[in-house]
Amino acid sequence: MDSEKLNNTIKLVKQVLEENKDNPKVTEAYKDIVKLANKRNID
């Protein structure tokens, strides 16, 4: 797996989920992506 590509992907997905974090259909996924991004030191 290419680290840079994975980081970019996670970052982009996180940005979208962040814009919609109050949406109940997205909340759980948002929390998980934040954890994942933090684990990888992605802003």
Partner: protein, 912 residues
């Protein structure tokens, strides 16, 4: 002003009229070019210009030139080639005005223009230049072949398509853009095209020879394996479909050389050939005369009396046998020998004659050994259970196959029913093709699972790209093209991307853009979250998203996994909560995070959010792609398997436990050197296969009491390709058979890669004989770490969780043969998996002892593990509530301090 617009004759001023008259009087091309616009478009001026010379047409604006040609059609063919080409580039319909030869020349030089002609013109030119058929779009091609019944154009279709028509049923929607009437004058927008091989039985002469021969080879393989009697309805149907084709086939319109080549591949067609062809066929191999019906033999002998020595009428009893040999259902042994040129070139004709007259398994093998030498001998002698019906063809024994692919590959063709064996036969005949295949292997490294099933997948993909591969060489083999090829292969399970044409370098260069555009378009049409996830999963992870439906519903194989199935079958939530996952050397951090990302996306249920995710990822190039995800998929089940195997009791671990003073385990040596490991209370985990000592097996084989079980295990070759095992431990001893007619084989020193299925209930593994890619039914597969496997087994047996109504045990399924080529050879029965010990509940009998000696390794008998049941509980209710905590990752919220507080609170609660 547009140069093709009619200009109203407006009133000219006096001055303008004088200028016009002056121009007309002294008209020439050069003067016309310098004239003002209002005069250039004046019809009188144009008429004067053209009256001067038709060659002045080159000075006219294009629109006026075309209009002039339209009104004076004769001049077009008088123009020079350059001018004609110029105007044809603007209006291809002008080609109608050219003489036949000139028109054909233009089409030849501009094949892309052919596509733009209207349908009637295309058909007109096809009559003269049928090879232009290739330049038509797919729908027009099908329309011409099938709607107009012009089968002669079939040979211009891609070879793969032709082979498909002769070997499979097909169904296509054909769209007619212009709704032009067909030959019956019927006007419609399209039709559904369904074909099966039988349709082409009278049209074989319309196929390209190579495609025809390829199809015959493939069909022969199906007929030889006698799938007519298969339990599987799909394979029976396929057999019947090909059988029908052959019953009605007409070879009479084929060239003689082609017919001879067909007979060389499959002499079932003998009865369909004329005498001259048969003479050519048996030329150099007169013993083949015996394959012919008597009247055909008589015809040939009349032409050439010296052939009489081969006349089967010399022996009346053999004559019946020859007749039987012509029957499509006859003994395949004779066909395999008589269609192998190397055997016929090497072996004395009298010996072959004797074999044909009185075939036997022994003679068959001797012919192979005497033709192909020591390698073949070693392989065949190591597997005495191999019979002629199992050997797919004799070319697999060719020295070039041993040299280029290894002895393990030859063994695997005997272990499984494979399509790869057909390709190997082709490689033996054409060794120059091997390097091309090896090039493909190198280009696609890592994209296929490293086992026999993976090889079959690789073969399919190799054939899919066989036209493209030779073009990828030297300078044309660029980094971008390699990436595109690898992506196309990583996409192979996605039906939509498989329709993208990939036959030349241009196609390959366009692949990424075309596939991405296809997904972009698909997104615009969907309105529910699951469908968006489907598109995201396909584009970025290379697999379908949702569970399989229709005939494939509930089916699991590693190679056809969808994203939702992966998350379920591989217990991803549990995988990502277990410390062992992160401590494993199998994954790197990126692998696990990619899995987690897929898991996160699967939890989102909002179509707009998901669409936004797709769009932001689609805009960027530097995001994950299917190539990366392919290898991760393969690692997940292996992680579980490795952990399971590491926990299994081995004789070495048993000795260690005793040395460490563990209670409840002891070892004694019996006379005869058998080691008995007595379990009377020590913990253990055992994976065992219960082997019926009498009764019917899943392979349909009936075991009688007097059959030698060790010989059966070692040498039986026609059974299912898997071993179904149960995992037991002190709290749960349920396995699939506990009566007296069972022998239990324990497997502990087993390669984890051999585990292909796991379930806390019966895994419903496919039990077709010699299947190279066994599948699992009814969505029962569930890979887990061993603790969870055991817990869920107990839970389902006791009904605490969903119960398997008919089975009280779990299943761990392994291949029956090694998959690592380094572990497959003639010194270990082609890699057959052997047990590590025998497991006995209750008393050890002489049957156990004899089996332990017969199945021994390295001169020592197998150990016997005796489980003293009275010392163990079979208390699944208690077990069912016990979740594994030792390996679970503690979440950040549950810090040690918090846990302590919780404990204090709960203690206080109890005290109150």
């Amino acid at each position: 002003m547009p140069d093709n617009q009619l200009v109203e004759k407006s009133k000219l001023t006096l001055f303008q009229r004088i200028k016009k008259n002056s121009l007309i009087k002294k008209i020439s091309g050069e003067r016309y070019d310098k004239a003002p616009e209002y005069l250039k478009v004046d019809p009188d001026v144009i008429q004067a210009l053209m009256a001067k010379s038709y060659l002045n047409i080159s000075h006219l604006p294009d629109g006026f030139a075309l209009e002039y040609i339209h009104e004076n059609t004769d001049i077009f063919k008088e123009l020079n080639d350059e001018l004609q080409d110029y105007y044809l580039g603007i209006k291809i319909e002008l080609i109608k005005l050219l003489p036949g030869e000139r028109a054909l020349q233009y089409i030849d030089e501009h094949p892309n223009a052919f596509k733009n002609l209207d349908f009637s013109l295309q058909k007109h030119f096809l009559a003269k230049k049928p090879e232009m058929f290739r330049f038509l779009d797919n729908d027009t091609q099908k329309r011409i072949i099938f709607s107009d019944e012009s089968y002669k154009y079939i040979k211009y279709l891609p070879a793969k398509k032709q082979v498909k028509y002769l070997t499979q049923k097909t169904e296509d929607e054909v769209h007619l853009i212009d709704g032009v009437p067909d030959q019956n004058g019927i006007n419609y927008d399209g039709f559904t095209l369904k074909t099966e091989p039988f349709f082409f039985s009278q049209e074989l002469h319309c196929f390209d020879e190579n495609a025809l021969l390829k199809a015959i080879k493939l069909n022969k393989d199906i007929l030889d394996r006698g799938w007519r009697d298969s339990d599987d309805s799909e394979t029976r149907e396929k057999w019947k479909m090909i059988h029908d084709l052959y019953d009605y086939v007409d070879l009479s319109k084929l060239p003689q050389d082609t017919k001879v080549k067909i007979l060389t591949i499959d002499n079932r067609f003998i009865s369909k050939c004329d005498t001259d062809t048969l003479i050519k066929f048996i030329d150099g191999n007169p013993v083949l005369l015996r394959l012919l019906p008597q009247e055909r033999q008589d015809e040939i002998i009349e032409i050439d009396p010296s052939m009489n020595i081969y006349n089967s009428n010399r022996d009346k009893s053999f004559n019946n046998h020859v007749q039987e040999g012509l029957d499509i259902n006859s003994n395949p042994m004779i066909r395999k020998v008589l269609t192998d040129k190397k055997v016929l070139d090497t072996i004395d004709p009298n010996r072959i004659d004797d074999f044909v007259k009185n075939p036997s398994e022994e003679k068959f093998k001797e012919l192979i050994i005497d033709t192909y030498g020591e390698n073949a001998k070693r392989v065949l002698e190591s597997r005495p259970g191999i019979t002629s019906d199992i050997i797919p063809n004799l070319r697999i024994f060719d020295p070039v196959i041993f040299e280029e692919f290894g002895e393990a590959t030859v063994h695997n063709q005997l272990t499984y029913n494979t399509k790869f064996s057909i390709l190997l036969a082709d490689f033996a005949d054409h060794p120059e093709k091997i390097q091309e295949y090896k090039k493909f292997e190198k280009l696609t490294d890592g994209l296929f699972i490293q086992n026999s099933a993976g090889n079959e997948e690789k073969l399919s993909e190799y054939l899919r790209f066989s036209n493209l591969l030779p073009l990828l060489d030297g300078e044309s083999l660029t980094t971008d093209r390699i990436k595109s090829l690898r992506l196309a292969i990583a996409d192979r399970k996605i039906i939509e991307t498989k329709t993208i044409k990939l036959e030349n370098l241009e196609d390959l260069d366009m692949y990424v853009a075309k596939r991405n555009k296809m997904y972009d378009e698909a997104l615009k049409k969907v309105t529910d979250p699951e469908s968006v996830k489907e598109i995201i999963s396909k584009r970025f992870f290379g697999i379908d998203y949702g569970e399989k439906t229709g005939n494939d519903e509930g089916i699991y194989t590693a190679s056809t996994l969808t994203m939702k199935e992966l998350l379920h079958y591989y217990s991803i939530d549990n995988l990502l909560k277990d410390k062992r996952t992160y401590e494993s050397d199998l994954f790197d951090k990126d692998d696990l995070d990619a899995i987690e990302l897929a898991n996160i996306i699967s939890k989102i249920d909002d179509v707009e959010v998901l669409s936004k995710i797709y769009n932001v990822l689609a805009e960027k190039e530097n995001v994950i792609s299917p190539i990366e995800f392919e290898t991760i998929k393969q690692k997940i089940p292996l992680q579980y398997s490795r952990e399971l195997v590491s926990q299994l009791l081995t004789p070495e671990k048993a000795r260690e436990k005793i040395e460490n003073g563990e209670e409840g385990i002891a070892i004694e040596q019996e006379d005869g050197g058998i080691e008995i490991i007595n379990l009377t209370g020590a913990d253990f985990k055992i994976m065992m296969h219960s082997f019926l000592s009498v009764g019917q097996t899943n392979s349909g084989f009936r075991i009688s009491p007097d059959i030698d079980k060790s010989e059966l295990w070692k040498y039986f070759e026609n059974g299912c390709s898997t071993i179904s095992n149960c995992v037991i431990e002190p709290n749960m001893l349920n396995s699939c058979a506990v009566n007296e007619n069972v022998i239990n084989f324990g497997f502990s020193n087993i390669d984890p890669r051999l585990i292909i299925g796991m379930s806390h209930q019966d895994a419903h593994v496919d039990s077709r004989n010699r299947s190279v890619d066994p599948f699992f039914r009814f969505s029962t597969v569930k890979f887990n770490y061993p603790e969870e496997l055991i817990r869920k087994t107990a839970a389902q047996i006791s009904g605490v969780e969903e119960k398997d109504a008919t089975h009280d045990y779990n299943e761990v399924t392994t291949y029956r043969n090694e998959q690592d080529p380094n572990k497959v050879g003639s010194d270990n029965l082609g890699g057959k998996i052997m047990p590590d010990y025998i497991v006995v509940f209750g008393e050890i009998t002489d049957t156990h002892r004899n089996l332990a000696k017969a199945m021994g390794k390295n001169g020592k008998p197998l150990p016997i593990v005796k489980i003293n049941e009275e010392n163990y509980r079979n208390n699944m209710v208690a077990r069912a509530h016990k979740k594994d905590t030792e390996h679970t990752i503690v979440s950040k919220e549950d810090s040690e301090f918090i846990k302590e507080i919780k404990e204090i609170n709960s203690d206080e609660g109890r005290e109150r």
